[in-house]
Symmetry: C2
Subunit: 341 residues, 2 copies
Amino acid sequence: MATAEPKRRVGIRDVAAAAGVSPTTVSHAFSGARALNPDTRARVIETAERLGYLPDVRARSLRGSRTYTLGFLSDVIASTPHAGRIVSGAQAAAAEHDSVLVVLDSDGMADRERRQIRTLLTHRVDGFIYARMFHRSVVVPEELRDQNVVLADATSDDPSLSSVVPDEHGIGLTATRHLIAAGHRRIALATIGGDVPAAHGREAGYRAALAEAGLAADERLVVRASGDPAGGYEAGVALLARTPRPTAVFCFNDEMSMGVYQAAAAAGISIPHELSVVGVDDLRIISAGLRPSLTTIALPHAEMGHWAASRLLAAVEGDTEPVQARLECALVERGSVAPPA
Amino acid sequence: MATAEPKRRVGIRDVAAAAGVSPTTVSHAFSGARALNPDTRARVIETAERLGYLPDVRARSLRGSRTYTLGFLSDVIASTPHAGRIVSGAQAAAAEHDSVLVVLDSDGMADRERRQIRTLLTHRVDGFIYARMFHRSVVVPEELRDQNVVLADATSDDPSLSSVVPDEHGIGLTATRHLIAAGHRRIALATIGGDVPAAHGREAGYRAALAEAGLAADERLVVRASGDPAGGYEAGVALLARTPRPTAVFCFNDEMSMGVYQAAAAAGISIPHELSVVGVDDLRIISAGLRPSLTTIALPHAEMGHWAASRLLAAVEGDTEPVQARLECALVERGSVAPPA
DNA sequence: TTGAAAGCGCTAACAG
DNA sequence: CTGTTAGCGCTTTCAA
């Protein structure tokens, strides 16, 4: 591990001296805050390059009003690839505005979150992305009251907050319409029990698609279980016992789809010919790994991260108009849907 | 979206005035850099609390030598939960030292990485965690030459760099011994083809465990494929066609295990009674979701992140002795291992 | 088109 | 045990 170089860093005044101008001019050469003689400017830039000058964001921000740093606060960052996608998208958007992301996960602990906000405030971040890994309705901690905040994969009752979530209703619509278009009439829904926006929205979309196709919703084809493979298995077993059997299942997520595959295998029912399945998430590990591969709706995590950071930076730059966005989700067609037998 | 509060921030001098001491004393009350009269200190702290004073890390760092900020550079942060785990562990360790993590993913693009390093340098981070999502041997970009750097889930030829990786050999040993202890004699290995440390180490551990049990390695039981479910399926099909059939398979990772499950199902072979399987990773989605659930070796991503940040901060604080760590990986017993029929 | 000087909020000498 | 003073590296008035 090398230690930091001993020689003093080259600063704006070194560049100024070498280029034969004032520090002020060097500053302006970089910031463009005022017009310079193009030749002077070119000479300054070239000199800076040659000396290996790197501006000091701390000093800049101490004098100015921005730190070019955004705080990213999430609940659990560790259990799914979702977090990574949101962070990655947000990071990319931040980079487009010369900003950077400080990432913190509270693991759902309120006191830890409070400390993290304090820390971020201490670093004078320009704003906060308050993210959830699963679409939730949240109440933003009051320490964030007077800050720039954008919610990612979350909404809130506060209409002054910008937020971005997936279009859950659209997901239900897209998935169910796809199944209907393939010829299915008895389409089941394997969903979760909790009172969360994703469950409500997707189910409403499912029912709306059925209705618009003139299909009656059969309540015996709607089952609720936990949102994991075990829950999907349970739901699958129940659904496959119905008579007449559904010819397709729209699952709340890919994990439940995985369980439905297991139930179908156990019952000797083949996918997609005897049963079509559509999931939600596009967790590659599952969707691309299942046999047959899973047709699913991709959740726009990277896009939400990007949107949130872009919105936040716009607010930092003065456009504080709140916007609540609902992002479209694309169907990813793979091998789990076929016409009914 | 609320705009930042207009009123001037309370600074160290406001606190000093209100508490009837000098700014210096306030500074020391917080930093503990010199002894204060306990009463004075208490009064200062109380006053600061009352006024809602929050120190400004930028100002502190501009004067001092540290920014209390670490750069986290990774390749792909978005595709697996691994990244989240490493970040989460690193973030926790950083927090223990009042530091914070700026997270950047290059998506494997060298020029983008170079720009990110520049950005981080511009923020004067105290050091860099250079992380890979899959155990690799890397060469650190030369822009990082004179910086504090610790590798996470990666090694390098440079012995002056600290690094932390999983004990790959130990993984092979643990998995294979577990199978041997269950009574297996014909144990297959489904691994990947690439020239990466994880593949070499796990295979060597597998062979060592076989050897120490007096079992001859049967090359027909070692098959290589891609490290995903499709590869696992392919390997599984090949392995299950051997005569006599292996009674157990040690898979390079959980994803390949998933494919082996599919191959077994296709061949009508039941797990664990006719075939035992051990994976590596403990990707919950797979390991807990498969039927039966998968016995696997957990990769210590959070621990690597924690280790890397701790080591880096120790270096920042003066202990620059390089250390190359190899972390033990724990067996997670679930339902995919049983004695051979 | 360019400079000089002041100062962002804090800490570290150097006193006392 | 505590205060005074001088900056950290930059940007921003104010002047020229």
